[in-house]
Amino acid sequence: MDGLRELYEEIILDHNRNPRNFNKKQDDTNHSAHGHNPLCGDEFTLHLTIEDNTITDIGFEGTGCAISTASTSMMTEILIGKSTQEANVIFQNIHQLLTDEDDLEVDQSVLGKLTILSGVKEFPMRVKCATLGWHIMQAAMNNKQSTISTE
């Protein structure tokens, strides 16, 4: 009726209730980064294991709203097993999907079920929630140890 069901799709609610790769024990991570959205208090830390340019493991911890939690959870699922180059392509596509007026350039095949996140576009105040985890992932891949912020 009001875009709310499109924003809070079942798959997003599911990832919010049961975030994947969340608070899991990881032994050999070699890239990590922390990020927050000071406006609403969302904050996550990501830990990546990158071997020979391939992301072999990701885990995350922290707190956030349903959108930031689900987006980060879905991100970890899709990125495990991908090369860092592939991860960058996915990041660029998701960024375009969430922020561009017309997302003609978006390669849907790269995104798969992540396209569900496009419902966020109707809610400009929430785009930062959906992109938070992705920005932290970028920072971690580049091995920036500093804290990133979506503000």
Partner: protein
């Protein structure tokens, strides 16, 4: 779902103190639809809507009297100056100050606190001194003191709160010492709604020879303030939270203290004579009002004070208290809602959490149903940390809100729960 039907039917509170429906007609912004649904505005602790009389005063000023204050010899400047200074007198009466020159116009309540921290602080706060604030302060009553402490070597002490969100006064008693050189405390918490026992705090501080600043940003629209009866040394508040325009804050200070304080900013209006060697500062209150002020904002605030006086702060307080009771009962009927801030003595601010729904998601879902609330940390991160929550959803009521507004809030929350089921 109307849990407190008595309030709604037997004893119609919406006409008991004043006619709320009539009052609503004075606020054009309330009469609109968002997403094609009538707006329910419950973000009054962030800012209040403006009555038509305030809006009219601002446009009338620009259409008829626009000119600078305190300097022109011409008719328009005389008119502007009289209107501007007239509001100072109104404010003096509104908070029962002794005289006009104890009312300083600044640009926000935040700036009023910064003025005291910067001017009073520089002169009187030294290394090893202590400043007492509380766990429930807005960042505006934390950060200026932190900066001062860093510059001076003074130490910030914090009065803890209990799980209802009330000050632990016995801890305050322990913190007070000969080292305490200032106490800065909020009158009413913006995040919790708690009304603090400021009279008691002021008495105890004075017995310890410590001056007190009261942050009244959340108090001035809801309760009668009498600075002489309170005997506070400073009282700060804000126009836009009391139905006036934004961009105007008020610092009340006792004349003798203000006289002894150095200027805050230099510039026009705050001087008597300037040479390159020396400047002679103007008398109070102008010593603290450098630069052209927000003239139309101050004049608009005058209209807001007249409006508040017309309804009567006692009526406002009583009505809002009934609204608080009604909305709190209705919220608690929803089993999975937890209210953060349950002080015995509180204003109509309700911070809450619904199990399994993050406040930011709640904010979006309520907004789509036309209900405007605040979701976040309310510029009170240490308070949130105490309650171990990153954020809350906050509904804050005004005298123009109705029982139906509270019902709409509950309905919207129920819808959110359905989505998140």
């Amino acid at each position: 779902m109307n849990s407190n039907l008595a309030l709604k039917t037997n004893d119609n509170i919406e006409t008991k103190y004043f006619d709320v429906q009539q009052v609503r007609k004075d606020f054009p912004a309330l009469d609109q639809r968002v997403y094609d649904i009538p707006l329910v505005y419950l973000d009054n602790a962030a800012t209040t809507q403006k009555p038509q009389c305030v809006i009219d005063l601002i446009s009338h000023f620009y259409a008829h009297s626009n000119s600078n204050v305190h300097r022109g010899v011409h008719k328009l400047s005389e008119r502007a100056t009289n209107s501007y200074e007239g509001v100072r007198t109104k404010l003096k009466t509104f908070i029962n100050a002794k005289q006009d020159n104890e009312i300083i116009f600044v640009r926000s309540a935040t700036e009023a606190i910064n003025l005291v921290a910067s001017s009073y602080g520089k002169k009187y706060i030294k290394e090893g001194d202590e400043i007492i604030i509380s766990q429930m302060e807005h960042h505006a009553n934390i950060v200026p003191w932190q900066i001062l402490c860093r510059q001076s070597g003074a130490i910030l002490k914090v009065i803890p709160i209990n799980h209802a969100g009330e000050l632990k006064i016995e801890e305050f008693d322990k913190l007070l010492s000969p080292k305490t050189k200032l106490v800065a405390i909020t009158h009413i918490s913006n995040a919790l709604g708690t009304i603090n026992p400021i009279k008691e705090i002021i008495e105890k501080s004075h017995a310890n020879n410590t001056p007190v600043l009261i942050d009244g940003a959340q108090a001035s629209p809801h309760t009668q303030i009498d600075v002489q009866q309170l005997d506070c040394d400073f009282y700060t508040f804000s126009s836009h939270k009391m139905y006036g325009p934004s961009g105007v804050g008020i610092l009340y200070g006792k004349e003798a203290i203000l006289e002894d304080m150095p200027p805050y900013q230099g510039g026009g209006d705050m001087i008597l004579q300037v040479t390159f060697e020396e400047t002679q500062y103007n008398k109070l209150p102008y010593k603290f009002e450098a630069g052209t002020p927000n003239i139309e904002g101050v004049i608009g605030l005058g209209g807001a004070i007249d409006y508040l006086n017309k309804i009567g702060l006692e009526n406002i307080k009583n009505y809002e208290h009934d609204l608080l009771t009604y909305a709190t009962d209705a919220l608690l009927d929803q089993k999975d809602i937890k209210i953060i801030g349950t002080a015995k003595n509180k204003t109509a601010v309700i911070s809450f959490q619904v199990e399994g729904i993050h406040p930011h998601d709640m904010g979006t879902i309520l907004d789509k149903q036309g209900v405007a609330i605040r979701a976040g940390h309310h510029c009170a991160m240490p308070t949130m940390r105490f309650f171990q929550v990153p954020a809350t959803t906050r509904a804050s009521f005004s005298f123009y809100n109705t029982l139906d507004d509270a019902d709409r809030l509950i309905d919207a929350i129920i819808h959110a729960k359905e989505i998140f089921k």
